[in-house]
């Protein structure tokens, strides 16, 4: 309850600051969407030259991309601490956070919310619904529940991986460049994984489980079971809990090592 009221207060503040610069808000939304649109345009352009991509039709690939946008949008809205190292470690703002009674990571995330990214999730959802119709898939009420469960799982996978990588700055304050690197790897999850070589596929499924943020949950709805993809789908939430748990463990261990910057 205390944590909920904190979130509400932070949201109120966010809305107030954004109302001062209304145009900026919409420009941000628009340029975010444009960024996503380029990937979609890529898919649409190449399918003018080929009927299938690794055995997947255009509507299926678009559907996978639609799913990919949903958790990735929610994640970007909640997790916007790409400059954590400079702002909280080098400048020592973590001091302020740690003296307060709420959980430190929760505070850090709330201070940096980026709600415009949710529009990406919204567009992703529309894309899914449209290609759902195109593919003539049957619709069950359980699909909605599964979608919610998968989405939460996928968001937790992102959050777990990026939390643990952000926590590296507790151990070393030199810029490592690993965050943008990992961000680029995460984009591999938005295409059917069977187009990649075996090693990469194994990597994306079990080591850096980005396949669980795109193609695996999507294949559950598409009913595609190549190399057991849709069999893996129900494990998405479990995977999310494991990865997130590891991320929090590394984070909490890192916070204990934090020393103020002293300036």
């Amino acid at each position: 309850m205390f944590y909920w009221s904190l979130a509400v207060e932070y949201m109120k503040n966010y809305v107030k600051t954004k109302l001062t610069y209304r145009m900026d808000f919409w420009i941000e939304v628009l340029s975010d969407l444009l960024f996503q649109a380029v990937n979609l345009i890529f898919i649409l352009i190449v399918f003018r030259h080929t009927p299938t991509l690794g055995g997947w039709t255009e509507a299926e690939v678009v559907f996978v991309y639609g799913y990919f946008m949903v958790p990735s949008g929610i994640f970007s809205a909640l997790f916007n601490i790409w400059n954590f190292s400079e702002r909280y470690i080098v400048k020592g703002e973590m001091d302020r956070v740690l003296t307060r009674p709420a959980y430190n990571l929760y505070q850090v995330l709330l201070e940096n919310l980026d709600p415009p990214s949710l529009f990406g999730s919204f567009v992703g959802l529309i894309i899914m619904i449209l290609s759902w119709g195109d593919l003539g898939l049957a619709f069950h009420l359980t699909d909605v529940l599964m979608l919610i469960a998968f989405t939460i799982g996928s968001v937790m996978i992102y959050a777990g991986i990026f939390t643990s990588l952000t926590a590296i700055s507790f151990y070393s304050d030199a810029p490592t460049g690993i965050l943008p690197l990992m961000y680029n790897i995460s984009t591999y999850g938005r295409y059917p994984v069977n187009i990649y070589s075996k090693i990469i596929r194994f990597f994306l499924t079990w080591l850096l489980p980005f396949a669980f943020t795109g193609v695996i949950p999507a294949s559950y709805f598409l009913g595609r079971n190549e190399s057991g993809l849709s069999d893996l789908a129900p494990y998405t939430p479990l995977m999310g809990v494991i990865v997130m748990g590891l991320g929090l463990l590394i984070w909490n261990h890192g916070v204990k090592r934090y020393r103020g910057a002293g300036s």
Binding site: D24, V38, R48, H49, G54, I178, T187, I195
Partner: protein, 264 residues
């Protein structure tokens, strides 16, 4: 006077060199991106030999060299110019005895030189080791490609300047800068070669400068354009370079009369 401009190149180069560690991860990131597109194209080709005039081998080379060329010609001059206009430091630049836009060009060139030697060069070598990239065997192609690369840089920088200078006319052009970045990547052919575009869009692109940034030089590098045709496409680059000077000069003249500093 000229030595002042040369010094600007040197200073920016050394400044970039001080932060070179940031670019090591850049090489890996570009390689990851090239990998993603390499696997995609492999799946897209499947059993097909030729798509929109490209073989798979040519496409692999195209993707690799286009991304690595982007590693060279990319710069943030648009943002630098916009920031200097917004915080008012451009006013100080006005009273100095040099041309502000030339200064920016030289700084961009210093950065480009750094990117060529420590980013594009090693990056291309790494990519050639990992993916089946086929480099041209004719030394003449390499020479002409280097010249075309220079014009890629110049044209991309001109577009950056033009968009950056718009900060004189609007209070916040941050969104514009971001959109420009995405559109240049798409229209220049880094993401998809222009021959893949649907007819009307491909025709439109022929009349816009973006193709001169990536598509034209990469086409020469992959050997899809040969012989006398090379000189024709090189001519397109030169013409765009000259043509783009006009709007920049015009905006620059207009802009100077209406500097509006926010805060500062």
């Amino acid at each position: 006077m000229n030595s002042a401009y040369l010094d600007l190149i040197r200073i920016r180069f050394l400044m970039m060199l001080a932060y070179r560690v940031n670019y090591y991860s850049g090489i890996v990131i570009y390689t990851i991106n090239i990998g993603a597109y390499y696997f995609l194209w492999e799946a897209i080709y499947g059993d097909q030999k030729l798509l929109a005039g490209f073989t798979l081998a040519q496409m692999t080379t195209y993707v690799a060299v286009s991304w690595m060329a982007r590693a060279f010609y990319f710069n943030n001059l648009d943002r630098e110019i916009a920031n200097e206009i917004r915080d008012g430091s451009v006013a100080v630049q006005f009273i100095r005895p040099y041309n502000y836009l030339f200064v920016k060009l030289m700084q961009g060139f210093g950065e480009g030189l750094f990117r060529l030697l420590l980013f594009m060069g090693p990056g291309l070598a790494l990519v050639c080791l990992i993916f089946p990239v086929k480099l041209p065997s004719d030394p003449g192609t390499w020479v002409i490609y280097l010249f075309m690369l220079l014009f890629s840089f110049l044209i991309n920088t001109q577009i950056n300047m033009l968009v950056g200078l718009f900060a004189f006319f609007v209070e916040n052009n941050e969104g514009m800068l971001r959109m420009k970045r995405v559109l240049v990547d798409l229209f220049s052919g880094v993401i998809v070669p222009i021959t893949f575009f649907p007819g009307w869009l491909a025709v439109t692109m022929k009349w816009l400068p973006f193709q001169a940034i990536t598509f034209i030089p990469s086409s020469v590098f992959t050997g899809r354009v040969t012989g006398a045709e090379v000189w024709r496409v090189f001519g397109i680059q030169v013409i765009w370079f000259v043509a783009l000077i006009i709007p920049i000069a015009w905006v620059w003249r207009q802009a100077r009369t209406r500097l509006f500093v926010q805060g500062g």
